[in-house]
């Protein structure tokens, strides 16, 4: 399996504060990679660097390289192209105040799809990929803000699918949801990983053990350990990892 994303010697500064220290890791294609660690350890920051969402924050400086299919994402690549290839699902569901259909059609429309037939097709395909089609197919014109929190988050996942990404980043996607919605989303991710590369930030170690193939543990901006999930949780190589996993802090 190839390395979809290569992170090389990445340091990130918010003004004077260094949020990421010398990160080196490779994310393999068609796998689920989990980032875990206590609050403020840098896992979300690293995630947001993978699709250059950090560009939107003032005063952010980043050194090192991040390669997508061996192309530097901070090089010649246009950020809007990158973000189509690397999609993101945020912690709090954030559907647009539009209909369910419009939410999913927004991405493809923005990237140039004009034909209604094609858009209908993409909307159905995306909602099916998010295991939502049967639930909402009769209510596509309904306002997206009127469905439940769990459904809204799956809508955001469908929306992320709509632009046909290669990688999907999820930033604590189930932390605001009930257990049943959480389960639905975890099942979804496990099912789709054969077609996508997935990176998920999670506070919930059980979630990481349930669905991820590889896990990276972060602390104070450093990547302390990065290994196959089973190995990291059963025989951690670093004491700090062991302390976190067994609950001694964080």
């Amino acid at each position: 399996m190839t390395d979809k994303i290569k992170i090389e010697n990445v340091n990130l500064y918010y003004g004077e504060f260094q949020a990421l220290k010398n990160i080196n890791m490779n994310v393999k294609e068609n796998e689920i990679t989990a980032f875990i660690g206590p609050s403020g350890c840098g896992k979300s920051t690293l995630l947001k660097s993978l699709n250059r969402m950090n560009d939107l924050i003032e005063g952010v400086k980043i050194t090192g390289r991040i390669l997508l299919d061996d192309a530097d994402i901070y090089g010649d690549m246009d950020a809007t192209v990158l973000r189509r290839r690397v999609g993101m699902v945020f912690q709090k569901p954030n559907p647009f105040p539009m209909s369910i259909y419009e939410n999913v059609a927004y991405g493809p429309k923005t990237h140039g799809v004009k034909s209604k037939a094609k858009l209908d097709e993409i909307v159905e395909k995306s909602l099916r990929s998010a295991a939502m089609w049967d639930e909402v197919k009769d209510r596509l014109k309904k306002n997206a803000l009127s469905i439940s929190g769990g459904q809204q988050q799956r809508l955001c996942i469908a929306r992320a699918f709509s632009v046909n990404p290669e990688v999907i980043l999820l930033d604590e996607p189930t932390s605001a949801l009930d257990p049943i919605s959480t389960m639905k989303i975890e099942d979804l991710l496990t099912e789709i990983k054969k077609d996508y590369t997935i990176v998920i930030v999670t506070h919930n170690m059980q979630q990481a053990t349930r669905i991820s193939d590889k896990t990276a543990f972060f602390l104070h901006g450093e990547a302390i350990e990065f290994d196959e999930t089973e190995k990291l949780f059963s025989m951690p190589k670093n004491k700090k990892t062991e302390d976190y996993i067994t609950g001694r802090f964080g």
């Binding site: 939107l56 809007t80 993101m88 945020f90 954030n94 927004y106 991405g107 923005t110």
Partner: protein, 293 residues
Amino acid sequence: MQNTKKSNFDEKIMQAIFFLSALISVLAVIAICLFLFMRGIPAIAEIGFMDFIFNEKWGPTNKPASYGILSMIAGSIYVTAGAIVIGVPVGLMCAIFLAEFCPDNVYKIVKPAVNLLAGIPSIIYGFFGMEAIVPFVRENLGGNGYGIMSASIILGIMILPTIISISESSIRAVPKSYGEGSYGLGATKEETVFNVIVPAAKSGILTSIILGVGRAAGETMAVVMVAGNAVMPLDKIELLKPIRTLTANIVTEMSYASGLHESALISTGVVLFIFIIILNISLSLIKSKAQRN
């Protein structure tokens, strides 16, 4: 013990005074409605409702006298529509500029400029219109300069601060998460602002437009000085020809009017007043609909 009794009493008195002061607004509105209608409605009855509203002939000094305000209603509608056509696009774009694109140091210049525009008295706008806009229209567009075109330009400028400040607040109030969602899908900043953020603010923007309509329709001095004030038959109304609005009608003739003529002018004011009330009601309806959503 006596002290508490006295301070209780004082407390009650002051509370009553505060409440009565608050009632004065209500009294004022009732008084305004009462006296306007008292002078205005009988006149409309005497002239005849249909004749008043739907007759385009306004000739109080003719024999026989006619008191139809249709031409002035059309005049008010035209210049208000013109003001909206000119003021809303520029104002909305400027609001978007202030809320989404403006760097801090430029904001410190543009925002006070908008506030200053809001404070300029209408007589200044009217005079500026008379001395700068009217000659400009006359030389570059035709006609004698006094007319719907000049009035629309001046009113359009006058409603800019209203459109800008309320639209800017509404755009700023849109949750940041909507923008993030759009960026995450690979949209540019401009696409995000125009396709997601501004549409999300549409209720506030609509409010600003309605307030702008109220301001333009109720404006007197600026319009009187640039619109020409000729009572035009409906089929002769043109962009570059003079026009008289409801407000200008009152101001132009009140000083020498008496009897039914004077009452008819007051009735013109009543029509204006009712229009503003309808506008206010629409605003409340929009606000409560927005809150329910």
